[in-house]
Amino acid sequence: MLKYSLKRIVKLIPVLIAITLIVFTLMYLTPGDPALQKLTSQGGEVTPELLSEVRHEMGLDRPFIIRYSSWVLNVLQGDLGNAYTDDQPVVPKLMKALGYTASLAIACTLFSVIIAVPLGVYTAIKKDSLFDNIIRIFTFTGNAMPNFLIALLLMFLFCIKIRAFPVIATASLKGMFLPTLALSIPMISRFARQTRADVMSQLSEEYVIGMHARGVKERVILFRNVLHNSAGSIITIVSLQIRVLIGGSVVTEMIFRWPGIGNLMMNSITARDFPVVQGAVLILATLQILVNLLTDLSYFLIDKRISLE
């Protein structure tokens, strides 16, 4: 497995090179001059001479290839450059924001899995019961509602009506509750539906009928066989959601003032702070690839019959 992991990591190098080129080119082609933004962000007047001077100072007048190669060389040394807005290094900014995003992502995933998997299993066992129908309505609704609406409704309910939480949250455990809930509701809906479908599919398999016939306890069938066999598809959907969460939920982070990567990217895009955006995209792309690798490895760990090659 180690050999396989190393091989996959080595294969990442050309992918990452391609990513740097794509990221840099996209930023280069994106409309919006950072120098002009810097000079006129409060609506002031600008002269062509001043604009040209600031563009030169920011290195924006250099040819594309020079700018790209210089950036890549710095990236190889772990330097993602300095932000345009405050001239501070990009790496600590990203690491700080990524920490918050990661903690939110972990909380959401754990919370969602803990709630959704038992719910999915139970509704599969109790297919078409009243409970199943109620949960299906909830999961349909949870899937259909956009995140910003869920976030605002939760804020209205918990902050304005129940007054259990402040609107102005801090990046603490308590402050994490509402964004976690807002992001988890659609995730729980998806996971529960997926788990229900998989478990139902497994329950109709011949081996389950056979085990029942041999008098194997239902608990054993469910936990040792059915859930085990359903784990692959559950892991797939969980890993997909983790990848979405790592990218930062811009709207949820903004509404709840969560200082994660989504919030940082939104601020940076508004300010045309390209070094921060480029750095963020590069790191996120790398993380996405690593999550893919971990997902593949987890398939192997769950079912040894699966070949890593």
Partner: protein, 536 residues
């Protein structure tokens, strides 16, 4: 099985609730509460605040507001950071702009300009928050630093400055600069104790009624009273500005009593707050940020341009925007001496008269035609930001109803290169037209030939000569006369059409006063007289 599953679910829910429901105060709080020294405030961010019932103004206490943009440094000389630091009452410029947009003394008492020599005299008793007096030499060093770190103020580097005594700075300029006093009223012309400040990004020591308590880069800022304030007693114990971008969250925080005041209200906010006059005070004052149209003389004939200007109904645009904007009929506020050139309001009859005089007639499709050829559709080029696209839609309707066919051309180009490349019929732009109480900046940046926004190609030698005269004229009456003459010619050319002025809409809880609620400039908010609400 059922019981076990139910028990398992219950236990898991309890574990999560326990994990998330406790310990918030011991956790780091990058966007707010870490090191919040103002624990004496009734503004705890970890507990919901009580609903603000009837409130009265008192001295003391903390005012809480929000900041819509997260910025990473407080260094007021860099970029536009001083626009925020001055709002917080942390920094003060040498002069200030009053509610009437006239320059008033602040850190400086006076500036006397005679030809190329200016004498700046500091106000009495000005000192930094650490008690160190502000000297003329420190002003010189600050202006030198400003010229080094902010390209917009590099002209200070061309000056020879000498501190004649502790309170007098003599400035020798390479050429006459009548707008020097206005430049010194910019928030950037603020003073820092450059000797005592050790962390200019996070804790600059300045002269305002408040000093930095805790600043979290790209997060919240907590301010404490400056007990050494040179301007006298400071009412509040402190202030807190939460970094918050989302408009809905701001609204709910205000409704929940977690903040006491904020600006940049949306039309919905205004409607909601105005329904509760006992709890909220609403103020609206036109700012100096305007949206205007440029009309391309190369693609739109003069008669059509004039008709367009007369067809635009600014009042209905303003009504549609729900109080967030006011109609604008000139580049400057008409109350200023240099803002006397104002456009006429909507006059459809006159527009029709102009069109008909040029040979256009309305055909059966209600479209003007000339010699049997319909007027080509006019492209309204705009970028979807700051409600400009909504304005364009309304204008399209107004023009179309009056027989001038128009279509929206949304352009994903925030720099407006389509404008500078002159690839437009009519385009929209937003700009602060009067940042320092003087007409030159706008005229120099828009009307002068070859200027960045001379996108209509209007600039000409005669106007340039007038602009040069304006540049070097010291007498304010004469300046106003020249500016009005320039703007009259510009108006007559029908290439420029002011549309709306953005309002500074402010909501304050009952009991809050002196929140700069009547000042048109967004870089003023707190001062020594600001009061916060307190419970009865």
């Amino acid at each position: 099985m059922k019981k076990r599953l139910a028990t398992l679910l219950l236990c898991l829910a309890m574990v999560f609730t326990t994990l998330t429901g406790c310990g918030s105060k011991s956790e780091p709080a990058p966007s707010g509460s870490t090191g919040d020294a103002n624990a004496n405030t009734n503004t705890s961010t970890s507990e919901p605040a009580a609903a603000p019932e009837a409130t009265v103004a008192t001295t003391g206490g903390i005012i809480r507001s929000v900041e819509g943009f997260a910025y990473a440094t407080l260094d007021p000389h860099k970029d536009y950071n001083s626009w925020h630091s001055q709002k917080y009452g942390l920094t003060e410029s040498l002069f200030k702009l009053g509610d009437d947009m006239k320059i008033q003394p602040w850190l400086a008492k006076s500036l006397e300009i005679k030809d190329t020599v200016a004498v700046l005299t500091l106000n009495d008793g000005v000192c930094f928050s650490n008690g160190t007096p502000l000297t003329a030499d420190m002003v010189k060093r600050n202006l030198e630093r400003l010229s080094e770190v902010n390209k917009r103020f590099k002209f200070y580097a061309n000056f020879t400055m000498e501190a004649t005594d502790d309170k007098t700075l003599t400035i020798t300029m390479p050429e006459v600069m009548p707008t020097l006093e206005n430049e010194m009223a910019s928030p950037e012309a603020c003073m820092l104790d450059l000797d005592a400040t050790t962390d200019i990004d996070n804790a600059p020591i300045s002269t305002g009624p408040f000093a930095v308590d805790v600043f979290i880069p790209e997060g919240d800022i907590t301010l404490k009273r400056n007990d050494n304030y040179w301007g006298g007693h400071v009412n509040l114990d402190g202030a807190k500005f939460f970094s918050m971008r989302d408009g809905q969250s701001k609204l709910m925080a205000m409704q929940n009593g977690e903040i006491d005041a904020y600006d940049s209200l949306s039309a919905t906010d205004i409607e909601i707050f105005s329904a509760e006059p006992d709890r909220y005070q609403l103020f609206s004052v036109p700012s100096q940020a305007r949206t205007y149209m440029f009309l391309n003389p190369k693609t739109v004939p003069e008669s059509v341009r004039q008709a367009v200007i007369l067809t635009v109904d600014r009042e209905s645009i303003s009504a549609f925007m729900g109080g967030t904007v006011s109609p604008s009929y000139g580049a400057y506020n008409e109350s200023t001496p240099y803002g006397k050139v104002q456009y006429p309001s909507i006059d459809l009859a006159k527009a029709k008269e102009i069109m008909e005089a040029d040979g256009y007639t309305l055909n059966s499709n209600n479209v003007y035609e000339k010699n049997g050829v319909e007027l080509p559709t006019i492209g309204l080029y705009c970028y979807a930001a700051r409600s400009i696209d909504s304005m364009a839609v309304l204008i399209k309707e107004q023009l179309t109803n009056s027989g001038i066919p128009a279509e929206i051309k949304l352009v994903e180009d925030p720099d407006g290169t389509y404008m500078t490349d002159k690839q437009y019929d009519i385009c929209f732009y937003r700009m602060t037209t009067d940042k320092t109480g003087d007409p030159l900046a706008f005229i120099d940046g828009v009307v002068r030939s070859g200027s960045y926004q001379d996108i209509t190609g209007y600039g000409n030698a005669a106007t340039d000569a007038q602009i040069e005269e304006l540049r070097f004229t010291i007498d304010s009456e004469k300046r106003a006369e020249i500016a009005n003459a320039i703007m009259q010619d510009y108006t007559d050319a029908a290439v420029f059409c002011p549309l709306v002025t953005y309002n500074r809409n402010i909501v304050m809880s009952t009991g809050v006063t002196h929140f700069a609620e009547t000042n048109p400039y967004e870089f003023y908010t707190l001062d020594a007289n600001t009061t916060a609400p307190s419970q009865k």
